[in-house]
């Protein structure tokens, strides 16, 4: 039963990793698959008898020996034409688990039933509870609370904690919305274009506006409107130079709310030629 469970969990974990990697279920099953199952199957194969190991040590060794198994599989695949990748590592680990589980199953079958290790999952709460002293019960309750607390903390940390830093991302892309083809040479009288982007990470709703200056003279202004926290704004913006000249500095000043001091300034240089 236990071996079957380990194999089934592994058979579920592998396709999850292949096709739905990154999901919370995939994370939990993936961790079990990589950090527990190989060791459990190995321990079961080496120690098939009930009295070989108690359940706590069996579980402890399962975690520990999983860490032992994985590097050797990786080193082995390093010398094959498949190399170390998603498929080679996970399928070979799965194969290891299945083979070890089969060996464990055969070895258990050769033992008299009363000697076989078979974890019993059914637990009568009343029997369990009644068999303990009052203080032990209190300690058990405390332990459960601590474990739940630890799990809660783990879940809290698993999500990105808020660093409390308030900032705004301000970026400049080329006219096609990629980091290429930035205006370089502009013919006087024609417009050049860039893509400007703002991401509000201030933690509050914020208004922004952007002013474009060439050689210190304002040539355009655009407002982003109101952006909610984590909201992004991206827009193609055009501007036209006012005079001919080489290496003219184009500045993009981002202002926040009604402030008069620019929050961020980005710049590029253009040559403006006569028509």
């Amino acid at each position: 039963m236990d071996l079957l469970l380990v194999v089934i969990a592994s058979l579920v974990a592998v396709p999850l990793a292949f096709f739905w990697g990154g999901s919370p279920v995939g994370l939990v099953l993936g961790l079990i698959f990589a950090l527990f199952s190989p060791g459990y199957a190995l321990v079961a194969a080496v120690f098939p008898k009930r009295h070989d190991l108690d359940i706590v040590r069996r579980l402890a060794l399962s975690f520990g020996l999983s860490i032992v198994v994985v590097p050797f599989i990786g080193v082995f695949f390093n010398y094959t034409r498949w190399g170390i990748n998603l498929y080679s590592m996970l399928l070979s680990l799965l194969a290891f688990i299945i083979v070890a589980a089969i060996v464990a199953w055969f070895r258990r079958r050769r033992l008299p039933p009363e000697e076989r290790f078979e974890p019993r999952f059914c637990l009568r709460l009343s029997q369990f509870w009644g068999g303990h002293h009052l203080l032990d019960r209190a300690l058990l309750v405390l332990l459960v609370v601590v474990i739940i607390g630890a799990m809660g903390t783990l879940v809290y940390v698993a999500r990105l904690p808020d660093t409390g830093q308030a900032f705004t991302e301000f970026y400049l892309l080329g006219p096609e919305g990629k980091a290429e083809n930035y205006p370089d040479v502009i013919v006087l009288g024609e417009e050049a274009a860039v893509t400007l982007g703002v991401v509000n990470r201030e933690g509050v709703v914020t208004d922004y506006y952007i002013r474009i200056f060439i050689e210190g003279k304002r040539v355009a202004e655009v407002a982003t409107g109101t952006l909610a926290d984590e909201e992004e704004w991206e827009q193609r913006v055009s501007f036209a130079p006012l005079g001919v000249g080489e290496e003219q500095k184009v500045e993009f000043w981002l202002y926040k709310g009604n402030e008069n001091i620019p929050y961020h300034v980005l710049e590029l240089w253009v040559d403006v030629v006569g028509s």
Binding site: F63, G64, V75, I84, A158, T163, F167, E169, L266, E267
Partner: protein
């Protein structure tokens, strides 16, 4: 405990954490254990890395969960420390101090100098092997079957963190010697242990086969150890809290008083390692440094077991002493609970006093991420070589230079001076095939476009 330094910070803390993420990502990208430099790229192939086992383990965890390295880098330190505690519990349980050992095992301190369980680094994973091998060792008292498992475990540890493997091997040998010398088991039952002592050195063969040059170099370093005044390593014991220290001393006392090979086998390596990290280095000032740098972690783990033993003995003594009193057991447990709570309080205080640096802040993280998403994958960035360690894992792109300790390094000074002068010399970056700059200063070069705050890209053809 492992989560404490990163409760309000989502990114890896120590430069080594960033470095290991970079190496792991490179192995997964390339698909082999011979790979171009993970941070600087190029043709040069790195192979036979002495911490390969760790990279494979972390890489496999990434593949199996499908998670990003950022998620696992936050989760894993806590999970690994949880594993250490669980294995400590499983080991100490039979002798009646499992819970106590597990409790104090979580106290192992983390500093930026000798690392620790709050960081996801190979030595942290290596700590799991202490209780793991001790469990297997105890099982081997009457059984041959754990023998290959111990040898394989040590071999895996040699591939993961050689220094820890040496320390674990040393502890195992001491345990086995005490068992062989003092145990009353018949000689036939001692044969597996005797064989194990003989095989332990052979487990190190795996790292010799994997990277012979590295092993020979390390052996040379030990043989030709020069007297080098090494920077002092701050003693971390006060950070553990004086209650744990006191309990460890009490545990020492109880162990000596109770005697038995198991107690001596735990005491002796602890004392030797403590002497080694605290005194040997200061008196003789010889390398290799790594043994001292990481040695405190092993001492703290062994001390945790002893402190756990001390607490359990106090519990038993208290329960026996107040046996006849009606509220005796209750009072003993209340007293022990107070001890535990105060020990925890002092330990948290120790963590709060420890200072950790942060390689990147949130805006910088988003800058690097944006670069990774918007700029071509073959871009090469020029930035402070120290921050380069964080740049590569986040952006997925190479840097011109990444140095863990750039202070005083000529190349690092040159780069920072280049930025300080406004990066006006375009040829300088063209020669280096650099096309992205992340500058702490505003740059004045018409060949560059400032695409984000401090992020400049080189315009070709100007």
């Amino acid at each position: 405990m492992a989560l404490y330094p990163r409760l309000d910070y989502p990114y890896p803390l120590h430069v080594d954490e960033w470095m290991h993420v970079g190496y792991t990502n490179q192995i997964l990208n390339i698909g082999h254990l011979n790979f171009p430099h993970p941070f600087q790229g190029g043709q040069w192939e790195m192979g036979g890395h002495p911490e390969t086992g760790y990279y494979i383990w972390f890489g496999t965890s990434l593949l199996a969960t499908g998670s990003t390295w950022l998620v696992l880098a936050r989760l894993m330190p806590a999970l690994v420390l949880g594993l250490i505690a669980f294995l400590a519990y499983a080991w100490g349980r039979k002798r009646g101090f499992g819970l106590e050992a597990a409790f104090f095992a979580t106290f192992i301190h983390t500093t930026i100098r000798f690392l620790g369980p709050a960081f996801l680094v190979p030595v942290t994973l290596g700590l799991v092997f202490f209780p793991l091998c001790l469990i297997l060792l105890e099982k081997m008292e009457k059984d041959w079957r754990p023998l290959p498992l111990i040898v394989i475990s040590l071999a895996a540890l040699f591939l993961t963190h050689g220094t820890t493997a040496v320390a674990v091997g040393f502890v195992l040998v001491v345990f086995l010697l005490f068992y062989l010398a003092l145990s009353k088991n018949p000689v036939r039952q001692k044969l597996p242990s005797l064989t194990c002592i003989l095989l332990i050195p052979f487990s190190g063969l795996v790292i010799f086969l994997w990277n012979r040059a590295f092993v020979l170099r390390e052996i040379q370093n030990i043989i030709n150890a020069e007297k080098i005044p090494l920077p002092a390593i701050p003693v971390p014991l006060p950070q553990l809290g004086y209650i744990m220290i006191a309990l460890a001393v009490i545990g020492f006392g109880f162990m000596i008083a109770r005697g038995g090979w198991r107690n001596y086998a735990l005491l002796v390596p602890t004392i030797i390692l403590l002497f080694f990290v605290q005194f040997y280095r200061q008196w003789f000032e010889v390398g290799p440094d790594i043994l001292y740098e990481r040695g405190w972690l092993y001492v703290m783990l062994l001390m945790a077991f002893i402190a756990g033993y001390g607490l359990s003995q106090l519990r038993q003594l208290g329960l026996a002493f107040f046996q006849r009193w009606r509220w005796g057991a209750f009072s003993v447990y209340i007293a022990l609970a107070l001890v535990v709570v105060f020990a925890l309080f002092l330990r948290m205080d120790g963590y709060a006093k420890e200072e950790y640096y942060r390689m990147v802040d949130e805006p910088t993280y988003h800058d690097f991420k944006w670069i990774g998403e918007e700029l071509p994958q073959d871009s090469i960035a020029l930035l402070n070589p120290y921050v380069g360690w964080a740049y590569v894992p986040i952006s997925g792109q190479y840097v011109y230079s990444a140095k863990a300790y750039p202070w005083g390094v000529e190349q690092a000074n040159e780069i920072l001076e280049y930025f300080r002068r406004g990066a006006t010399d375009t040829e300088y970056i063209r020669e280096k095939n650099v096309n992205v700059l992340f500058s702490p200063y505003r740059l004045k070069n018409p060949d560059l476009v400032e695409v984000r705050d401090g992020v400049y890209i080189l315009r070709e053809g100007r």
